[in-house]
């Protein structure tokens, strides 16, 4: 398969998209609206970073599956595993009370 159909779109999406995503985090932190000294906002940082990795993994796994590098069944299994991790960590973070 041609690189322009396999990994170039992936690199462009997460390269440029990643720059915008990081810029969003930096700008909102610098403006003070995203305040990491507040525990509630720290929990949101976890959600934001998980979301980025979640989508990156989803596209990477789907590309590998399409190229027959991994089985198509691996995609939902890994993604379900990520969901479980997300739920466990988020619930643990929920128990931390803000002072």
């Amino acid at each position: 398969m041609d690189f322009t159909h396999t990994w170039l779109p992936f690199i462009y999406l997460y390269g440029l998209g990643g720059i915008l995503f990081i810029a969003g985090i930096i700008i909102t932190i610098k403006s003070g609206s995203f305040d990491l000294s507040r525990k509630a906002h720290k929990k949101w940082m976890w959600v934001l970073l998980f979301g980025f990795v979640w989508y990156l993994m989803m596209h990477a796994l789907m590309t590998w599956a399409a190229l027959d590098i991994i089985s198509a069944y691996t995609v939902p299994i890994v993604l379900l595993g990520m969901v479980v991790v997300f739920i466990i960590v988020t619930l643990k973070l929920r128990k931390i009370k803000e002072v």
Binding site: M1, D2, T4, H5, T6, L8, P9, F10, Y12, L13, L16, G17, G18, L20, F21, G24, I25, I27, T28, S31, G32, S33, F34, R38, A40, H41, W44, V47, L48, F50, G51, F52, W54, Y55, M58, H59, M62, T63, A65, A66, L67, D68, A72, V83, K97, E98, V99
Partner: protein, 698 residues
């Protein structure tokens, strides 16, 4: 291209009619909770995140419809899902920038933000652009609905011996009447609850179709192995073909579309405003984008993938030349049994109606807030009581819904000649979103962004966009990333990059040259002929903009005219618009959200985290603006007199339908009891004897 008519059986039609009646009755039941314009448009700011998440499903899935993604799935495979899987990049900006601002500043519409942040003239232009965007969106919704039902209808029907053909526009008009009737008498609460139900049904129907399809083909392995590699890839080829390429769709959808959807889709914004607080809005957005959108991508696109697989093994059953916009209906009809096909079609059309309902409701909100009220104020017709005014506005909102529905039908004419709904939608997004997207985005995140800059973005940016649309080979080609230009629909997607860049460029250059503009205007003000100079400047600006708008003269003249607009307009705005950066940005930019919270509360927020308390209500007469808890309960909540409180029915599954926001009043000594007035009980839909849950907000 192969097209279909009269697909489906009588059983399917019966199922569809029953489904629609059930949905309308369900919506009407919740329509009774609409008491005023706040309820009609915002559902009273009371709902939990999960309810809003599910109600967004129907809107999102409906607008990014089964029809268009199945079409692209049939033509290009699993990469049809990429539009659903690229919305996360702007979420930090939304969660910690735009969402708190729209909630805390208590704006009711996006143009209202432009007035507070910039000037009334910025609001006026934003209203025009936003109404065009919303009505265009409604037009796309109607077009999709029409294309979905046409294959089920006969080619013609006979009345009194006359044979009347069934046309796309005819079907759309009938659909518009049904949609308009529902939204006009329902309101936002009805829409949210109807969408909640439909969200579940849609996901179920979509997966049901996938299951039937996989079973029909003989299992997942058969399906997967049938698809060629390029159809299994999740992202399209980088820059080809012209009608479906990754880079064009990235700029059209992941950039312009995502910001447009999150920041300027009034329908979606109203959903988030209907959340009980900012944090619930964040949860609704996060769960929706992280988990619901990937599921929705499968739900809406799988008919196309299944159709492609069937066409490879049995081209006699599904021909590769089937009209892509009809593939969903064709596949559903082949793989689902009679009755089940009717159910799937009912779910599809009802979802599309949900989207259109939401958009009509949102557009009516813009009309009331940004046209009706300013006009009433201009003619000083505000002498009536608040109740009387609200009654009249509610009536006007209902008439506005009817008007907007009619305009939405007319908007279909602009899109019906595109080969597929997907391309029509892509072109529409690329063209209409950039000026407003840039205006909102820089308004929120750049304190220095001025009224002169935002108005130049709206007018000068549009002039540059018109040049791009008129001469795509000259202006858009340098940004095309190697995409071939289709002369019939040039650069449907990548034009979003050009449009965003020229609007951003106009915005940044004008903002950075603010001091020069002020110096020049100061010099003009010192001239005794200042009024004449400014009148001439306005006249020249209007004339040169008209040269571009109406395509007068040759390209070089139009370019010069655009440059003139970009120079003269900021000067004109700087002269006429009174603007104080510190006052106008207070609480309206990401750097002043704490101020916004202070203004929202009317005092310093109390961020100490307390516990929730469960109380019984006790009806008392008194001040309707406060409610009273015991001293001990307030201590548990870490609340003080004057803090904001949210109190709701304890039953979580109600999602906040029975709830109110209020203020802590002077405490009493009766633990486990809240003193509350009859009016508050009525507004919160509380039932005596039921336990209530209270929490301090701030």
């Amino acid at each position: 291209m192969q097209t279909f008519h009269s697909i489906g059986t009588t059983t399917d039609w019966i199922v569809m009619v029953v489904y629609f009646i059930a949905i309308m009755l369900f919506g009407s039941y919740f329509g009774r909770y609409t008491k005023n314009t706040s309820d009609f448009f915002f559902g009273g700011r009371r709902f939990s995140w999960w309810l809003i998440t599910m109600s967004i499903v129907a809107t999102g899935v409906g607008s990014h419809s089964f029809v268009k993604y199945s079409a692209k799935g049939f033509e290009h495979g699993i990469s049809s899902s990429m539009t659903y899987l690229n919305d996360w990049f702007f979420i930090p900006f939304f969660m910690f920038g735009w969402l708190p601002i729209i909630v805390y500043s208590k704006i009711r519409s996006i143009p209202e933000y432009f007035e507070k942040r910039f000037s009334p003239s910025a609001r006026f232009l934003a209203t025009i652009l936003l109404l065009l965007y919303m009505i265009g969106y409604i037009g796309i919704g109607f077009l999709t609905l029409g294309k979905a039902v046409i294959p089920m209808l006969p080619e013609a029907f006979t009345v009194l011996g006359m044979t009347l053909p069934i046309t796309l526009m005819g079907a759309i008009i009938v659909i518009a009447v049904i949609t308009g009737v529902y939204i006009t008498f329902g309101g936002q609460t009805a829409v949210i609850f109807t969408d909640l139900l439909q969200g579940f049904i849609l996901l179920f129907a979509g997966f049901l179709l996938f299951f039937f399809g996989i079973t029909y083909l003989g299992g997942f392995d058969v399906f997967w192995n049938l698809l060629p590699t390029e159809w299994k890839l999740p992202l399209a080829d980088f820059n080809q073909p012209a009608n479906f390429n990754f880079v064009g769709i990235f700029w059209q959808d992941a950039i312009a579309g995502s910001i447009g959807f999150l920041f300027m889709n009034q329908g979606l914004i109203m959903r988030f405003m209907a959340c009980k607080n900012v944090n619930e809005g964040r949860k609704a957005a996060a769960v929706n984008i992280l988990f619901v959108l990937p599921i929705s991508a499968i739900v809406v696109g799988n008919a196309g993938w299944i159709g492609k697989a069937i066409s490879l093994v049995s081209p006699d059953i599904i021909s590769p030349s089937v009209s892509p916009d009809e593939i969903f209906v064709v596949v559903a009809n082949i793989i689902a049994s009679p009755g089940m096909f009717g159910f799937i079609m009912a779910a599809l059309t009802a979802a599309l109606m949900s989207t259109v309902d939401t958009l009509i409701n949102a557009t009516a909100a813009i009309f009331i807030n940004d046209v009706y009220r300013p006009v009433q104020q201009f003619f000083k017709r505000n002498v009536m009581s608040a109740i009387e005014r609200d009654r009249k506005e509610l009536l006007a909102a209902r008439y506005a819904s009817i008007g907007v529905t009619a305009l939405g039908v007319l908007a279909v004419l602009a899109f019906k000649n595109f080969p597929t709904v997907y391309e029509a939608h892509g072109y529409f997004h690329s063209t209409l979103t950039p000026p407003l997207v840039v205006g909102i985005f820089l308004g929120v995140f750049w304190k220095r962004f001025t009224p002169a800059a935002v108005i130049t973005t709206f007018v000068g940016g549009v002039a540059l966009m018109i040049l791009g649309a008129r001469y795509p080979g000259i202006f858009i080609a340098p940004f095309d990333h190697g995409i071939e230009m289709n002369p019939d629909h040039p650069y449907s997607y990548i034009r979003a990059l050009y449009n965003t860049l020229v609007c951003s460029g106009a915005a940044v250059v004008v903002t950075l040259t603010t001091q020069w503009q002020r110096k020049l205007i100061t010099a003009i003000r010192e001239n005794q002929n200042q009024k004449m100079i400014m009148n001439m400047m306005v006249a020249i600006t209007v004339m040169v903009f008209a040269v571009v708008l109406f395509n007068v003269s040759v390209l070089s003249v139009q370019v010069l005219a655009t440059i003139a607009v970009l120079i003269l307009l900021p000067l004109t705005v700087t002269y006429y618009v009174k603007y104080d950066e510190n006052i106008n940005t207070n609480g309206l930019t990401a750097s002043s959200i704490d101020v916004a919270r202070n203004l929202f509360k009317g005092g310093n927020p109390n961020d100490q985290e307390g516990e929730k308390v469960f109380v019984q209500l006790k009806q008392v007469d008194g001040d309707d603006t406060v409610i009273h808890f015991s001293t001990k309960d307030m201590a548990k909540m870490k609340a003080a007199v004057g803090d904001l409180v949210y109190i709701s029915d304890k039953r979580k599954w109600m999602g906040g339908l029975k709830s109110i926001h209020s203020v802590f009043g002077v405490p009493h000594d009766e633990d486990g009891t809240v003193y509350i007035t009859p009016d508050q009980i009525k507004h919160g839909l509380f039932v005596e004897g039921k336990i209530l849950e209270a929490e301090k907000e701030m």
